[in-house]
């Protein structure tokens, strides 16, 4: 039969069969060894890697501490905001994902790509990289609907800062914005997309406000879809900050300053607590929180009125006549002049071949120290300045808190400038001239002070000579940084001259007088242009704005154990008394306003 054709001749090849058996033995041995190597020799290592594969760690943002005013009113808060982030490792096609985002959100693709490339090196594996902040609800809905097809896109919930008062307190509170490269290098706690205080209290109190981020463990599948989360480290909310600012007062002061360019400080004399600090023009600090556009930034930066400048602490001006108090103090301390010593003002003082004029061309006649201050006679102080000389005026001024920072909890405070022989040589390589003593004695020349320095000096005059740190935190105790270099008697004399300036008919601050309140003040009109001759006697409105004098007034008001200092500075505001006076008066009216005594009203209504 054909089926059995080769049956008799067939002999299975012995070597062939052995070859097959060896093959089986071969794979058995090789694979057993390989399983041993992978599962036993390196098993633990692979087990660890399997864990890392499915577990990702994510940051949990800590809510930033709230900022309140001294009465608990909210000045800075957090609101929920949604950001769009991408996880690179979950993306098959990043350019396509970026194109989708650009389509959905109607955003510039180039800008998106730039954001992505810039952030890329700072993002760890599997960490969501935030591309777009502050999504609107419409945008949120579009993205949420598509997360299944685009698993690499994640919505990150991140509290966003909101300043309900905006412009009103922008200079005090400052703002937060996304941390930049330098900040992240300096502070390893910061990661890309974190908000950090850039200006104001947000900057100085960053440590307190920030809190610490938590860590969340997220179990994911291969597409990055979340299966469950465990909180490993709970986030710690930032601490709240209560400011010394009184929001209602701040609002009132803001309105009192109106459209003027300048600043007003209201401070408690005994504690250094700053109750109001207004600088105008201001800016809306909310603009910075979600990233300022180039156009908006250029607008703020190039605004000739410099709205970003906090004029109360960052701008230094010639103090003008306000500085005469300091010179009088120096003269008393160095016994150059007694309060009763008199000087005749003929309207000017000749030094060498130069005539130094008094603002009162006709002259003040015989002036003692009190009248010199009350009427702000220049010639009287030229005489003191000439006798004192810069070598005595300089240290006395510095000890009185000028030319040094006040230490307020705000960044970028200006030091102002108190000139000295040394300074002039370093700065101009020129010797000090005698005439410069005269300029300095009336707060002109090189002298520059910030409004806050003036306020602090004034507070020291009425609080027993203590130079306090201007305090922005309501709960901080007074911080004494120095003592005025003045005997108590002299100090009281200077305070009395300030009271006289308000109360005497010829006083430059007479318009702020208020019955029942002990008010003292010193006005100043700081010249911006040295040679004012062409504008002399001209009406204020006829002088070009930038050549107009700065108007100063520093003042104090006391009643029933309450004691405030108010310093106002109006840029190019003309005369101190006439421009700054009404502003300050209205604030004292507010501070010492008497609510109608309810008892009397009841009696009136109830005659029976």
């Amino acid at each position: 039969m054909h089926l059995n054709r080769d049956a008799e001749s067939h002999q299975s090849s012995k070597s062939g069969l052995l070859f097959l058996q060896l093959l089986v033995l071969g794979i058995f041995v090789v694979f057993t060894l390989r399983f041993w190597y992978l599962q036993l020799h390196r098993g633990q290592e692979f087990a660890d890697r399997a864990e890392n594969n499915r577990i990702r760690q994510q940051q949990v943002y800590a809510p930033r501490g709230l900022i309140r005013d001294r009465n608990g009113l909210l000045l800075a808060m957090n609101e929920p905001a949604y950001a769009l982030a991408i996880v690179r490792e979950d993306s098959r096609d990043i350019p396509a994902a970026l194109r989708r985002i650009s389509d959905w959100l109607d955003m510039d693709l180039d800008l998106l790509q730039e954001t992505f490339e810039k952030g890329r090196p700072r993002i760890r594996r599997f960490e969501p990289q935030i591309l777009v902040h502050s999504l609107s609800f419409e945008q949120l809905a579009t993205i949420e609907a598509n997360t299944v097809t685009w698993p690499e896109l994640k919505i990150v919930t991140k509290p966003r800062r909101f300043y309900p008062q905006g412009l009103l307190l922008a200079h005090v509170i400052g703002y937060v914005a996304e941390a930049n490269e330098q900040e992240m290098i300096a502070d390893p706690e910061l990661t890309l997309g974190d908000s950090v205080g850039k200006k104001g209290i947000e900057f100085t109190m960053e440590r307190t406000l920030r809190g610490s981020k938590g860590l969340r463990q997220v179990d994911v599948d291969v597409a990055g879809r979340q299966l469950g989360t465990t909180l490993l480290i709970p986030p710690e909310a930032g601490g709240d900050v209560r400011l010394s600012i009184d929001l209602e007062l701040q609002e009132f002061v803001d309105q009192a300053l109106g459209e003027h360019v300048g600043s007003v400080i209201v401070m408690e004399a005994d504690t250094g607590q700053v109750l109001a600090l207004v600088s105008k023009p201001a800016f809306d600090n909310n603009m910075f929180v979600s990233g300022l556009s180039h156009a908006d930034w250029a607008l703020l930066r190039d605004n000739p009125a410099h709205p970003l400048q906090n004029r109360a602490i960052q701008s230094a001006y010639p103090p003008g006549s306000v500085f005469k108090l300091v010179i009088a103090g120096a003269a008393l301390t160095h016994r150059i002049a007694a309060p009763t010593d008199r000087v005749f003002c003929s309207g000017g003082l000749r030094l060498g071949n130069r005539l130094f004029r008094c603002w009162q061309r006709s002259g003040h006649g015989w002036m003692d120290m009190n009248q010199g201050l009350v009427q702000s006679c220049d010639v009287y102080f030229y005489t003191l300045g000439d006798k004192l000389g810069v070598d005595r005026m300089h240290p006395h001024s510095v000890e009185s808190g000028f030319g040094v920072r006040t230490g307020i909890d705000l960044p970028h405070e200006s030091m102002g400038l108190v000139p000295s022989r040394d300074w002039k040589r370093r700065r101009f390589n020129e010797p000090w001239h005698g005439g410069e003593n005269l300029n300095m004695s009336i707060g002109q020349g090189y002298m520059l002070t910030t409004p806050l320095q003036v306020a602090r000096y004034t507070a020291a005059l009425i609080n027993g000579g203590r130079l306090l740190k201007p305090q922005l935190l309501a709960d901080a105790s007074p911080d004494i940084l120095g003592e005025l270099p003045l005997q108590a008697g002299y100090r009281e004399f200077l305070v009395q001259t300030m009271v006289n300036t308000v109360e005497e008919s010829r006083g430059t601050a007479r318009r702020i007088a208020k019955p029942g309140v002990r008010l003292g003040a010193k006005t100043g009109t700081a010249q911006v242009v040295r040679l004012m001759s062409e504008f002399e006697r001209a009406d204020l409105k006829d002088i070009p704005y930038h050549f107009r004098d700065h108007a100063w007034m520093n003042s104090f008001g006391q009643r029933d154990g309450r004691s405030y200092v108010i310093t106002a500075m109006v840029e190019h505001g003309g005369g101190g008394g006439s421009t700054a006076g009404p502003i300050i008066k209205s604030i004292y009216d507010y501070l010492f306003s008497d609510p109608l005594p309810p008892l009397e009203m009841d009696e009136a209504r109830d005659p029976g």
Binding site: D6, S15, L17, V24, T32, A47, R49, L227
Partner: protein, 370 residues
Amino acid sequence: MTLVDRRLITHFDWALAGFAMALFAVGVVNLYSASGFRMEEGITLTSFYRKQLYWGMIGLGGMIAFLVFDYRHLRMLAWPLFVATVLALVATLLWGKTIMGARRWLDLGLFNFQSSEFAKISLLILAAKLLSRDQGKLGWSQLLILGAIGLVPALLVIKQPDLGSAVTLLLILGGMAMFRGIRGSVLKVAALLVPAALPLGWHLLHDYQRQRILGFLDPGNDPLGAGYHIIQSQIAVGSGQLWGRGFLEGTQSQLRFLPEKHTDFALAVFGEEWGFIGCLVLLILISLFLLSIIRTAAEAKDGFGCYLAVGIFFYFFWQILINIGMVLGLMPVVGIPLPLISYGGTSTMTSFCLIGLVLNISMRRFFFKK
């Protein structure tokens, strides 16, 4: 000759059938785990283990169909089957269904027929016929004939493109030739020719195939790209450690880090969940299964039956070698399933049919006894 002989029953190789069924059972249990997806929304996908069970039943039918007739009739059908195979492969290229960029399936209405599996069966039958015609070591002319009948289907399969099946086809032929023995002079020349052919072969490969080979040589170079399979597979197997993570507890596979886990990488799921002990048991089972086929080859009383069994041995051996080697990171990623363990309709059916053929040969060995 009676159609139903009692000796047919007494000579039935229960051991081989038992090992095969055991492997298939392990495969289904493992697929149950590989089918599971742990997801938040709880999406249920087609359960592969159930479909595999259906395929197994169809396969059992095929196995019985392949053992009822006398295998020696196949010798006469060898050429017609081979021609039919070539035609089917051409038809696949022309009208085949495209799945994931490859044209490998012929839609036969009821199911999609993977013609390359058919090619493996018909090729090993034809090779068994040719090799059993004479004896002694193979010379040039015989090798050239074998090479020619191997290259025709192999090239058609490469065009699909299915490199894995093409390589398996040639390896089955090569294995059978090695079993027969090759003359020393021919071996020496071949030893020189193979390295010379390598660059040519590299040139013929598709880009993704080259990427896989490069990915195998240096998986860390592109961990999320070409090297991804290799790294994830080794992590899965390695993390099983001694006792495994337990059934349904493998995180690599359950969380879908592991690609192709129900088909080509099914063993990685097994390794992760059953550990070294489980893998050792599986390896022993596989070895016993292969040794049973060898015993059938040894006991076959005619050359055709012997070569048929050897061809079937190599059908299983090469796929086991390549698949396990790939899962363990010893070989580049080639799309070859682990017979009886991996999910796959055509592969399961082919395996059962071929096991039926081996049982057929073993049952009929008594025909030659005195």
